[in-house]
Symmetry: C2
Subunit: 199 residues, 2 copies
DNA sequence: GGCAACGTACCGTCCGGTCGGTTTGGTGAG
DNA sequence: CTCACCAAACCGACCGGACGGTACGTTGCC
């Protein structure tokens, strides 16, 4: 496992530096020094600095997508499926908090083809989420007086914002926060104004 | 008004370029070319590239803060005050959409003292918002079973996320969206599960 | 003539990426 | 076991160029 160690160390160091300093202000030299390797070694495993950034996104995107696929394949009542999806994406986003920070801050720095690939993957997730909302609306459980795009944005905004306020060292528990946010969201999109707030 | 024209043009050009390309990847040369001025002229009005970024934030922050002060000074029932505040910050955030993009993406690139100043200003707004929630909770109109920090983050996430999905050219109307998002938020934080959704 | 408002040429620095060379780890013949 | 051999892994000095910022000259208005 010696060969992957270098790539791993570099990825780890890059993630931390990108998260704290930003992509553009982090030099390749800094990364390789933090990783304890040389520039030559790094360029042996990665094509470019850009490649490093993409690798970080890749890992997070593919994991979240595969989890979404699995949950939706299980089926069930639309509101319960949606609840599971919401809790899951919030929890995994907390697990990948540094990745999220880098993601939303530096995605626009990717070269065009790679950025398009990332956008495509994100849209896939987004669209799948949208079908859930649509189903719920068709069944009459979710409100239709607010545009679907607004409802969807209203949820993803929470996911997005996590890296700006949530701290694993803070008082809030990951699982609880995920349920609380999901609860706030579900209550706000239900067709009738009321409803209990079971976990 | 000839003297301010240069500074204005530069600020405008910088804002647009920062929003589309990011701060770090935009060179001073690009900015001055887009503004139709020279580098010398720019450095006559701004101390540094950093200064340009701060000026963009400054404008947005001071405007939103003064509007918040005014609304809260008017007083009224806590839920109505909060509603007004929410609608206002969403609408002004839409008015300042490019600023928002640059803000959340490049704030961490500011030099330490300036970044601290920005953080301080943001916290002021944040704290004032928190007192409103607190008052509502004390009066029994807002729920207390979810941590206040989560409720607050749940709202600001929407404000934050606007620059990622909202487009003035899109189908959504600014005023409507502001009311819809506010509505979703208020419904989710009310103490009882129900309630009408007046605009 | 004096001062603010610019214009321009240039500097020191740093950065992503490269490239020729060296080390290392595995293999198979003897 | 040994040694020749090779490919992959790795090293690090170096390059071309871009960038932020400055020094100093020039203009034009009072």
């Amino acid at each position: 496992m010696r060969t992957t160690s270098v790539a791993d160390q570099v990825t780890r160091a890059a993630l931390e530096l990108f998260a704290t300093q930003g992509y553009a202000t982090t030099s390749v030299q800094q990364i390789v020094e933090a990783a304890g390797v040389t520039k030559g070694a790094m360029y042996h495993y990665f094509q470019s600095k850009d490649d490093l950034l993409f690798a970080i996104y890749e890992r997070m995107l593919s994991l979240q997508k595969s989890r979404l696929d699995e949950i939706m394949a299980r089926g069930g009542a639309v509101e319960e499926v949606l609840r599971t999806v919401c809790v899951d994406v919030i929890e995994t986003s907390i697990d990948f908090l540094p990745e999220g920070t880098v993601f939303f801050r530096s995605m626009h720095m990717l070269t065009a083809p790679r950025r398009q690939e990332v956008v495509r993957r994100r849209r896939e997730y987004h669209d799948q989420f949208a079908t859930l909302i649509e189903r719920g609306q068709a069944e009459g459980v979710f409100r239709t007086d607010v545009p679907r795009s607004v409802l969807i944005a209203h949820f993803f905004s929470d996911v997005h914002y996590l890296s700006h306020w949530y701290s694993p060292e803070g008082p809030e528990d990951k699982t609880e926060v995920a349920q609380q946010i999901t609860d706030l969201f579900l209550r706000s999109i239900r067709a009738n104004g009321g409803g209990a707030t079971d976990g």
